[in-house]
Point group: C2
């Protein structure tokens, strides 16, 4: 009996690099992690990635007497699936136009597949996480930014310009919304990402000097998405209001997308999703108020299941799907 | 050589019923049209449809010595593709829960396929209209209401609850927008449909008694989508402002959907689209301001090409696709 195929999942994040040997059922057999040498740029990251992939190859050979079938790479930034190039990285210099898939394919001798990390994360959830058994889902990753993925027939829907899933820059409130890092006013990312929670809290604290929030004890630069989230979890009224307001915008955005895409379910991942029902309950309420009836009544909104390992499992899922298809 | 297959396209509208004999290249060979006996309800419409389909069968037999391969039916209201039932009609009584496809299949002895008219229209444009050659498109029909369709890989994307494409009830401005017929505030349909143009104009005329618009000469009930459209085409400033404002909302809605779906192009059909570039130029400008860069730069927004015949050609397209698939 031939061994269950294994692949290498690679997650290229702005703060950490992860590789893992993963089997065709999505199980992590072994995982390696390194800090991203972000300040040294892509020229330092690429050799480190090659070394980490070799480590995984050696492990597979030594422990399982098996060669991995391929490498899936999730990259934290926009890529062009048609040309196979990285479009840009917002945080690490030197990535623009790099053909990372090709580079890692040559270095490892294995077929390698490049995907942006939101698409990889969505596919991972669809195959091995919260979306198992669903044909289609909308995945939204809420952290420092907001990314997303559209999964249809258990495959990534990439769209005509490799842009599908970009829910973070859907403009929700162009009239009163805050300016987004992308320059537009009122993008979902400017209303509901981690940094948006911090910004909203700092503004409220400045305006309402009288508030009883525990956040008043913090210096302004420590009022961030995570401290607001922690305060909300401890029942702080101001922090709860801010999370609820973000959830309303999120519910409005999800309702609009779901009306047109009509996915089987919606999966919310990323750091901010760790707030769980504190975020998701008001999101569901807003969603039900804004979505068309058949969608509002029967589209579950659930938290992602792969958590911290979503990156490597998602990248492995990309490789598994591509290898099956080729 | 076997003859080119022909199918019967059936368009069940609220004001008119159309059937046509259509070949596999989307050409209309013959067309029949009747007024919808709307006041008598579905019980009067169904026998008339059966009679019109027989007429098309007889014509195919007599003129071409050929039996049509199937019947495609576009229905002007929500249908449930999974159960094959009509969900409801907003304008004609007695349709709720009717299995129209089955009924017409039994009566004609031909395989029959039921679809809502927006999906049929979108597929028609993709195969035989403005979307020829495109793999994916977003179709939006702007008339009394706003419907839409998502076409991916040249097939209708129906979604998990047969609701995909429902862009008319995407909530765009829940804060200041007008109440929609569906009960929600600020749906696209309440901001950019034909009736929405009329409502906006009547409000402006009431507020601004001093305006020089030609619309002031009309009694209020004649200030409608079509008279506003006509006035705009003649350069009337108030009417132009109203069309431009509607176009801005449309561009905002299209940008949000396109960010997530990333279609190859966007096709605008329906009565209001007859305004052409008067509507589409400000729509494109708003779209480019609101969409993410790769989408904003390379997603054409064009008018539908099938015009008055979109209903029957779209319905025929549904039958042609389904017959190929079975």
């Amino acid at each position: 009996m031939p061994p269950v195929p294994v692949v290498i999942g690679v997650d290229v994040g702005n703060t950490r690099l992860s590789t893992a040997l993963i089997d065709a059922a999505g199980n992590i057999l072994h995982l390696w992690r390194e800090a991203t040498p972000a300040e040294e740029g892509a020229n330092a990251v690429i050799p480190l990635l090659i070394q980490m992939i070799r480590q995984a190859q050696d492990y597979a050979q030594g422990q399982r007497n098996q060669s991995p079938a391929g490498v899936g790479i999730g990259f934290g930034g926009p890529i062009d699936h048609i040309t196979g190039l990285i479009r840009r990285s917002h945080h690490v210099a030197g990535w623009d136009g790099v053909a990372l898939g090709e580079l890692l394919q040559e270095a490892s001798g294995l077929p390698a597949f490049l995907e942006n990390d939101a698409n990889a994360g969505g596919l991972g959830e669809a195959l091995f996480g919260a979306g198992q058994g669903a044909d289609s889902l909308l995945y939204v990753n809420i952290g420092t930014g907001i990314g997303g993925a559209v999964i249809i027939n258990s495959r990534i829907h990439r769209g005509a310009h490799s842009n599908a899933g970009e829910i973070g820059h859907v403009v929700i409130d162009p009239w009163q919304g805050p300016i987004c890092t992308c320059g537009k006013r009122g993008c979902l990312e400017a209303l509901a990402s981690g940094p948006a929670l911090g910004t909203a809290a700092r503004r409220r604290l400045q305006e309402e000097t009288n508030t009883h929030s525990a956040l008043t004890a913090l210096p302004a630069h420590e009022v961030t998405g995570s401290t607001v989230g922690e305060a909300a979890q401890q029942g702080d009224h101001l922090a709860l209001e801010i999370v609820q307001k973000a959830a309303e915008y999120l519910g409005l955005a999800l309702a609009g997308v779901a009306n047109v895409l009509d996915p089987e379910l919606i999966v919310i991942g990323g750091g901010v999703s760790e707030l769980g029902d504190l975020l998701l309950e008001p999101t569901r309420q807003a969603f039900q108020g804004y979505a068309a009836l058949p969608v509002a009544a029967s589209t579950p909104i659930v938290t992602a299941q792969l958590g911290y390992d979503a990156g490597v499992v998602g990248a492995a899922a990309v490789a598994l799907v591509e290898l099956e298809a080729t």
